[in-house]
Symmetry: C2
Subunit: 120 residues, 2 copies
DNA sequence: CTATTATCTCAATAATTCTTGAATTGTTGA
DNA sequence: TCAACAATTCAAGAATTATTGAGATAATAG
């Protein structure tokens, strides 16, 4: 993830409908959802509007698509999301662990450390 | 950090000049830099342009300002940055540790565990 | 008090992004 | 093949955001 890619990703995430789509798709991961189903979940947004936002997200690498019959199934690109977090933190941490540490703590509590099977 | 705040933060970070300002200020943390000095670092951008972007960033909670004599000193709001990471990951991790784990790994390597002089 | 420096504010314009609706492409089943 | 469905593409207009330059505000030095 370089600055240009991060810029695209941030732009993609800075629009309400698109941010909601991403959250929806993360929840629906890894199966994904058809464009139509996503539109329904977005208060019945029009298909051309969905297309516009979905292709924007795809350009930014935040979602992926595949055809399944008449439908096109979209799914979250999880590796781009973690790449974005890494980019943000790479910036933050230039000698300033006071940013990273709270972020680490937040991450740890959110990513349950697979209790029991701890290993570095 | 709620969705609305995250939306503002992403919008603020989705503009090249502003993303560069944030990175610059994270590097200059915690002292900060005067608006003029930031402008110089941004290829000599005009003062009104700087003002526009700096106030946008301040609105989004990504930077803070204080007056020092004639200058206004801006500094990175590190807690908002880590809040944003937390927001992203809270989303990502809804039952999908496969996102979080790479992100955790990236964070760990970026936030060198203060070898030697470690002290909470 | 005046001149100078640092920054902000405002209005106009330029540029970009979003929405809408109509037309188009691709897929399936009868 | 044809009708129906799912989604995309395109063009026009609306809305938002960024840049510029002129003028205002605030602080300091002389």
């Amino acid at each position: 993830m370089n600055e240009k890619q991060a810029l695209h990703a941030f732009a993609a995430l800075s629009q309400e409908t698109r941010l909601r789509i991403v959250r929806q798709l993360v929840t629906a991961s890894p199966e994904g959802m058809s464009a139509g189903a996503i539109g329904e979940a977005m208060d019945g947004a029009s298909s051309s509007r969905m297309s516009f936002h979905l292709s924007h997200l795809e350009q930014a690498g935040l979602v992926e698509s595949r055809r399944d019959g008449r439908s096109i199934i979209y799914s979250a690109a999880l590796t781009t999301l973690s790449g974005l977090v890494e980019f943000l933190m790479r910036d933050c941490c230039q000698g300033h662990p006071e940013v990273c540490n709270p972020a680490m703590a937040a991450l740890s509590s959110c990513c349950e450390p697979t209790k029991g099977t701890s290993h570095v």
